[in-house]
Structures are given as C-alpha cells and as structure tokens.
C-alpha cells in the first residue's frame, strides 16, 4: 500500500476530474487525428514537469519523477514524435498502476523499463544479449550496462556525435582504461582534435555485441583487428605510417605462430606476441615517443617481458616491421640473397645432371638392344 501511496501524489479532486477528462480527450484526439504530435508529452509534463515530484522505492531510494523539458527537446525520440507512452507502455491511465513487487531499487526499475527499447530496436537489443555485458548481468552483476546507461534515458541523442562521446560514455564505468586511452596516440587525437580516423572504444571492441577481449580468440584476432586500419595504405599515408606492418608481422616468427594458432587451435591460449603485447593496449604511443614501449630505448625491456635474460643485442634479432635491408639487417639480407640463388642453382643443377645421366643410360640400353 505504501508504494501506491507514494506513487500517487495527493491531488485536489478537481484536478483528478480534469486529468481523467483530458486523458479521454487526448485518447479521442488520437483516434480522430493520429498524426498530431506532442500530445501526451505535454500532458504527462503537467505532473512530471514539477521539480519536486518524487517517490520512495521499497529499498528506501528516492526516485525523482521530474522530467526536464530541455532534456526531452534534444532527444531524438521526442523530436520525432515518439512520446512517453511509446516507452512507458505500462502506464495507460491515471492513477498509474502500482510497481511490480520485484522492483525494489532504482536499478531494478531501470532494468525493467529498458526492455521497452527492444520494441523498436530489436536488432541491437538482440546483439546486446550476446555481449560481455549481458553475461555479466546473468552472472549477477546488476550494474552491467543496459541500453539507457550508454544512450541516456529521456535525452537520447546520437551516441557518436561527437565521436569522442563514445569514449566518454564507456569511461563512465571503465574509467581506468579511459585514463590510459586518453593520452594514447589514438585517444589524444580523438579528444583534442576530434580526429575522424583514430579508433574509439567501439571500433575495436564492437558496439552492441561487445565480446570479452581476454579470450584466446580475441587475442589471435588482434593483428587482424589492427590491420583493418594499419594495412589501409591510403589511411596510413595520411599519417606517414608504414602500411606494410601487418603483412611483415605475418611473416615474422611471432606472426607465423599466431596465425597458426588462430587457424588450428583458436580456443587455446598462446604466448606469441601480438601487436598489443609490444605496443600496449589502450596506451599505445608513437614509436618515436620516448615513453613508448617500442621506442628503441625501451624495446629491450619490452622484449624481456617474454624473453627474460635477453641481452642488449637481442633487439637486433627483431627485424622490425621492415623488409630486410643491407643496412638495417645485413645478416638476414645477405643470407636471403644467397639462398635466392643457391636454392635454384642446386635444384636445377641436380635435376639437369641426373636427367642427362638418365638420357645417356637409356640411349646406351637402346643401342645395346638394337646391336
């Protein structure tokens, strides 16, 4: 009873009559002229426009019931004629029906009300069901995000306008990661110059069906993920970045191992380095930045993460994302040059010599049998 009482603020009798009448009128109006917009909204705001309207939930939390008209005005829904009852489907009359007993907290209420999103956005809603966030909810984390946590409630606007908004949205929960990202080469370009090319969170992690990035599958797919931009010659040219890094990585010891695991044992964790092991994950910096983990000054320490005990010469074993060259990697260059002629010479010399011997032996046998 308490719920109903708090949910139904005391109103003077004349206002009640007025409300009933106007709801009927609106209903009539909707039947007669369904195209007419912003009817219920103004109507609901009669009460919900009041700044002190609130109720207490069974948990004791106070739920403000005030809806700001300013918020509504900027929302993509309201401005397109999608009004309160489109989402608040359970409210059809006044007094409003009581909340279900299952709803104890504000979070319970939010998790129940956001189901309305799937009415229109079923595709994205379904995608979220496969996400890491949905899994967290299933395993009991009620704070794992629902549509409204990222998109807003009454003030839903374009989630990626400006693009930096995506990253700040994620930072509401992933604050630590955001701290790393904001100073990275990607994050800084995004936040300071609204760069259209650098990845925001969702470019790498996906949008609605965000997957766990700690799985062997995600790890093995990392080079491919980075290559979506870093193998794009046109895009890389803009920033003076070598577009062959991914191709050359795939030929390296690390790359060969990783692609082998990816195709054969995708579910088995492996330790061979992928891009992020050396460059960092969220705090990726330009290689010439003195703080970068792949800056020549820091490279050995980075290698030692996986190759403990490696000495200062060790970094020379890494051909980098470079073709072998006589100046940069002379040992590898001259070895490759040697074999590029040695292999065909041995192969063809053996074949020709043996072929000549077979011909000669055959001719001899033919002659002998004819004579």
């Amino acid at each position: 009873m308490k719920i109903i009482k708090t949910y139904q603020p005391d109103l003077p009798a004349f206002l009640k009559i007025y409300l009933v009448l106007s709801i009927s009128l609106v209903a009539l109006g909707l039947i007669v002229a369904p195209a007419q917009a912003q009817e219920t909204e103004g109507f609901c705001l009669n009460c919900h426009g009041k700044t002190d309207l609130q109720m207490t939930l069974p948990s004791g939390e106070v739920l403000p019931l005030n809806i700001s008209n300013d918020q509504l005005k900027i929302s993509v829904h309201s401005s397109n004629g999608i009004e309160c009852e489109a989402c608040h489907t359970e409210i059809k009359s006044y007094p409003h029906p009581a909340l279900s007993d299952e709803i104890q907290t504000r979070r319970d209420l939010a998790r129940s009300l956001y189901q309305a999103c799937k009415k229109c956005h079923s595709q994205n809603y379904t995608k979220t069901m496969d996400s890491m966030h949905a899994q967290a909810a299933v395993s009991g984390n009620q704070n794992s995000p629902i549509c409204t946590d990222c998109h807003g409630v009454h003030d839903v606007t374009d989630p990626d306008q400006p693009r930096a908004r995506v990253s700040t949205t994620c930072s509401q929960c992933h604050a630590q990661i955001f701290e790393q990202y904001k100073d990275s080469v990607h994050g800084a370009a995004l936040l300071t110059e609204n760069n259209p090319d650098v990845p925001v969170c969702t470019d790498c992690h996906g949008v609605h069906n965000i997957q766990d990035p700690r799985t062997p599958q995600f790890r093995a797919a990392t080079p491919e993920l980075c290559a979506t931009c870093h193998a794009n010659a046109q895009l890389m040219e803009k920033y003076g970045i070598n577009p062959n890094v991914a191709r050359l990585y795939n030929l390296s010891w690390h790359g060969v191992e990783v692609s082998f695991y990816k195709s054969e044992f995708p579910t088995i964790w492996h330790e061979n380095a992928v891009c992020t092991d050396c460059h960092g994950v969220h705090h990726i910096l330009k290689a010439d930045n003195p703080a970068s983990s792949v800056n020549p000054a820091n490279l050995l320490v980075t290698c030692q993460k996986c190759h403990p005990g490696a000495g200062p010469n060790w970094t020379g074993a890494w051909t980098g994302h470079n073709e072998t060259s006589p100046t940069r990697t002379p040992f590898a260059f001259y070895t490759e040059a040697f074999y590029s002629s040695f292999v065909p010479v041995v192969l063809w010399a053996s074949i020709i010599y043996v072929a000549l011997q077979i011909i000669r032996a055959t001719v001899n046998r033919v002659r002998r049998s004819l004579s």
Partner: protein, 249 residues
C-alpha cells in the same frame, strides 16, 4: 682388414662373384646414425616449416604434439651434433697420427673426371671416366652434406638458444639463422632426394654402405681405376688378392 673374397679359381666353370670390402663396420654405423638423425630431423622439421599445409596439420593436431615434435627434433639434433663432433675429433687425431686417409679429398683428377663425364653425357665421347675409390659425384655428395649439415647444426643451435648466443653475437644473426636453417633443410632434402638417391638407388642399387662390400662387377664398372690399382698392388705383392679398404690399419 682382410679382404672378403669368395673367389677361388678363375678356371672354375661356375662364375663366382668376388666382393671387395668397401666400408668398415664403423663407417657403416656412422652412415646409419647419420641417416637416422637426418631422417628424423627432416621428418620433424619439415612439418614445422610447412605447418599450414594439410599434411603437416595431421601431425600437428595439438600444441602438445607440436611440442613433442620439437623435442624429438632436438634429440635428433643432439645426436647429429655428437656424430659430427666425434668425426671431427677422430679426423684431428688421425691427422696428427698421420693415419688419415685422403680418399675423400677433392683432387685435380676429379675435375678431369667431371669434364670427361660431361663430355660422355653430351655424347662427345663413348668412354666413361675411370673412377677411383670415391668418384667425384660421391665426393660432391660428401662435401655438400658436410657443409650443409655444418650450417644446419650452427643455425639450429642459434635458433634453439637465441638468448644465449645474442649475449655474444649481434642479434641480426637470429633471423638470418632462422632463414638459413629453414631453407638449407629444403636444399639438403632436395639434393639427397635427387642427386644421392639417383646415384645409389636408380643408376644402380648400391647398398655397399650397409653391407660394407662391393661386387667385382660394380668395382670394375664404377671404380675401374681403384680396381686396377688394387689388382696391380696384389700382383706386385704376389698375392692373389690383397684388397684394401683404403683405410690404413
């Protein structure tokens, strides 16, 4: 070192094949160990090199099997290295004792033989060169494998213990060793398959390295100069036969 002969009398109506001792038991065992090690190394190495091919995937069906394959490869590698060290030490010792046989050393006659062989193959002469104990083809096989296996052992240890070796050597040798190890293996494999197999299995079935002996007929047709030398030696000594393996006692 007594020659193994089954010849008794030339007047005999029955043709009795005479055999010449070609390899000692020790040499035959050395070849067997070499064959085993190289075989195992190729069988466990090539699937690693061509790991994305379907035939190697059937072998490498799990990371554990890949690891086991590498372990077998390493064991065979140690075996081959020990064989190489043993031969090297033995060679040095024999050299100091002045007992080292020079049969395998390339000499100018080999070049002449090769020239005549080419003329013969191009139908410019009807006479095959008369070869000594080891012909130029066999010497070429020996020295090709000598350098090839040497390179494989060195590059193999470099990529097996890269951290250790780069403490002393520049890091750039590691990718070079990796490329060399991987390519040299294929070159060696192809060379053995085409060159060596033709000469010992197809041209004629020459199993002397397993049996240790070579028939009189084979000696006369493939090692004529050595045959003549041995017969002359026997005649000088007045013996009927005194055929040496070329190895000093």
């Amino acid at each position: 070192m007594s020659p193994e002969t089954r010849q008794t009398s030339i007047q005999s109506p029955i043709q009795i094949e005479r055999y010449f001792k070609r390899f000692s038991l020790r040499q035959r065992l050395e070849h067997l160990v070499l064959l085993l090690c190289v075989g195992v190394l190729l069988a466990t190495g090539l699937p690693q090199k061509y790991r994305s091919m379907s035939w190697s995937l059937s072998l490498l069906s799990s990371p554990e099997r890949l690891e086991r394959l590498q372990t077998i490869h390493h064991i065979a590698a140690v075996g081959l290295t020990l064989l190489g060290l043993y031969l090297a030490i033995r060679t040095v010792v024999l050299l100091f004792q002045k007992k080292l046989s020079g049969d395998m050393l390339p000499v100018v006659q080999d070049l002449r033989d090769a020239g005549q062989m080419l003329r013969y193959l191009f139908f410019l002469t009807e006479n095959k060169p008369k070869f000594g104990k080891y012909n130029f083809e066999q010497k070429f096989t020996y020295w090709f494998l000598f350098f090839s296996i040497g390179l494989m052992v060195v590059s193999g240890f470099l990529i097996w213990f890269p951290i250790f070796f780069t403490r002393l050597l520049p890091g750039g040798i590691i990718p070079a060793a990796l490329h060399s190890h991987s390519t040299e293996a294929v070159v060696t494999g192809v060379f053995i398959l085409i060159w060596h197999f033709y000469h010992v299995h197809i041209e004629r079935l020459n199993l002397s390295v397993f049996s240790g002996k070579l028939s009189d007929t084979d000696m006369r047709s493939y090692h004529a100069r050595e045959y003549e030398r041995l017969v002359n030696e026997a005649n000088l000594k007045g013996n009927e036969v005194s055929l040496d393996t070329g190895e000093k006692p």
